[in-house]
């Protein structure tokens, strides 16, 4: 807490509250319209548990992949002078602007059974990603990775490179400097990026249904279950949405407190 609390200008406060209401109201709508009387019955169905479990597993795996590949990528973008770095940075943001369904089609064209790479995966190793849980993870990682890369790159740019240089002058190898100096410095950025990445992966719909298909237990994640439930039984779609909302809020809030901390 700062000792002196500045007066908040109304000019900022009014749009801020409108913005907040805009984001919160749809969730309030879900809560108001939820069929509370049948909620327990709806939740007890096997499909809900299955879809929720699958969603959590896939989003977490996708985040792990994004961390392993995304942190080095962010480092490369922020700290190296490799040619084509600007172009690479532009490409990293492509999945952000690409409609996820298009992303799913693109993934099919590359990793599908007849895809550019997929045909060799299939012929040489017998691996076929579409319609598998691994396919869901791939689709989610594709869509969610930019969130992590951009957050980590931002953190790296904000961090002072002189610490790494100092470590280097003291005889640390570049790898040691990265591990012992760079990573701890940008840890909050990595944590924030992972949380964003995980949340995006959890809500992923378009790329998943296009690339991985929809089958209960293997590829039907919560967003897919919600979509199909909406076509037949809007009540159960509301329940599923509430569950997804509740689980994600609980996880995000608890992680936020633990990892990112409230720096006040």
């Amino acid at each position: 807490m700062r000792a002196v609390r500045a007066r908040v200008p109304v000019v900022l406060l009014i749009p801020a509250f409108i913005g907040l209401a805009f984001l919160v109201l749809p969730m309030v709508g879900l809560v108001i319209r939820a069929p509370w009387s049948t909620l327990v019955d709806q939740l007890a169905t096997a499909e809900v548990g299955e879809a929720l479990r699958l969603s959590l597993i896939c989003a977490t795996s996708a985040t792990a992949i994004c961390l392993v590949l995304g942190v080095p990528l962010a480092w490369m973008l922020a700290r190296t002078e490799l040619p084509g770095r600007r172009v690479a940075r532009a490409f990293v943001t492509v999945p952000l602007v690409l409609p996820p369904v298009v992303g799913g089609v693109a993934l099919l064209l590359v990793f599908g059974r007849r895809g550019v790479l997929g045909q060799y995966l299939d012929a040489w190793f017998g691996i076929s990603l579409p319609f598998t849980t691994a396919g869901v993870v791939v689709a989610e990682a594709f869509v969610a990775m930019p969130f992590l890369v951009i957050a980590v790159e931002g953190a790296l740019r904000g961090a002072d490179p002189r610490f790494e240089e100092a470590a280097a002058t003291l005889g640390a190898s570049r790898w040691t400097a990265f591990r012992r100096v760079t990573l701890p410095t940008v840890a909050p950025g990595i944590a924030a990026g992972s949380v964003l990445c995980w949340a995006r992966a959890l809500g992923e719909f378009g790329a998943t249904i296009t690339f991985a298909g929809n089958y209960p237990g293997t590829t039907q994640t919560m967003p897919l279950a919600v979509y199909l439930a909406l076509e037949q039984d809007p009540d159960s779609a509301t329940v599923l949405s509430l569950v997804l909302l509740a689980v994600s809020i609980v996880i995000l809030v608890s992680l936020r407190d633990r990892w990112i901390g409230t720096r006040a």
């Binding site: 099919l108 599908g112 059974r113 007849r114 579409p130 319609f131 249904i209 991985a212 298909g213 929809n214 089958y215 209960p216 590829t219 039907q220 979509y227 199909l228 909406l230 076509e231 037949q232 809007p234």
Partner: protein, 253 residues
């Protein structure tokens, strides 16, 4: 040419009288030309035929513009119930139609399932049982959508339990998986197979006869352009409409 013009104009004239729900038998009364935008929500399996018929309808009614929303019938029914601005709804199953309208519906075509396979039928499929072979990847429509309900019925009739790799959200998405070669077989409508004849082949199977889908059409009670909607619906039910639909492989009721 004159005959054709008369055929095209007849439903427009009829639209003027408006009150009858069944396709009228004889032209009567003086109508006004159809104007404005007609919004049509139609089952995904009607994409090609309705797009064509929409163009024909616009050609016959220079003041009219037809806008389509194609998708799974269940999704469309849901959208209409949530207040989407539709004038006409053409569903691939009576069940989805019932969610939207009880009266005023007319069955205009029937459609039958086929097994869609890759060009040249590489896995030599000949019966419904063949799609259950372990090496065959099968795509079906989700049970919520009419093609999925029909597929379920066909498998029940055949006393078989399918093991699909995916349950797609509409018939076109299901067919796309065959087109892309991601699956070896899919149960879709005969008409979808014909529409994609350059990429896929169709295999008939006897159980399909017991899982035929009726397609009802209706001018919605809440239509914003009720006269335009009625005119379009009459156009679909006209000889010209039937001609286009049967040519695409639909059966008339």
């Amino acid at each position: 040419m004159k005959k054709l013009a008369a055929l095209l104009v007849a439903p427009i004239l009829l639209a003027g009288c408006g009150s009858s729900e069944q396709p009228p038998a004889a032209p009567s009364g003086a109508g006004q030309p159809v104007t404005g935008e007609v919004t049509v929500f139609a089952a995904a399996s009607l994409t090609e035929t309705f797009t064509q018929l929409g163009k024909d309808f616009e050609a016959a009614n220079p003041g009219a513009k037809v806008k389509f929303n194609f998708g799974g019938s269940s999704a469309l029914a849901q959208q209409i119930n949530q207040g989407a601005p539709a004038d006409v709804f053409a569903s691939a199953s009576p069940a989805n139609m019932k969610q939207v309208a009880e009266t005023g519906t007319v069955t205009f075509v029937k459609n039958k399932l086929q097994i869609a396979v890759g060009k040249g039928n590489p896995h030599k499929m000949a019966s419904l049982a063949d799609v259950l072979k372990p090496e065959i990847k099968l795509a079906l429509c989700a049970e919520q959508v009419p093609c999925g309900a029909a597929a379920k019925k066909a498998f029940e009739v055949a006393k078989l339990t399918p093991k699909p790799v995916t349950l797609e959200q509409d018939v076109k998405a299901t067919l796309t998986k065959v087109k892309l070669g991601e699956v070896d077989a899919a149960l879709v409508y005969e008409t979808d197979v014909s529409a994609a004849a350059k990429d896929v082949d169709g295999v008939d199977f006897p159980e399909a006869a017991q899982a035929v889908n009726d397609y009802p059409i209706v001018t919605l009670p809440k239509a914003r352009n009720a006269s335009g909607g009625k005119a379009f619906m009459d156009f679909i039910l006209s000889d010209k409409g039937r001609q286009v639909l049967t040519k695409a492989g639909f059966d008339t009721p």
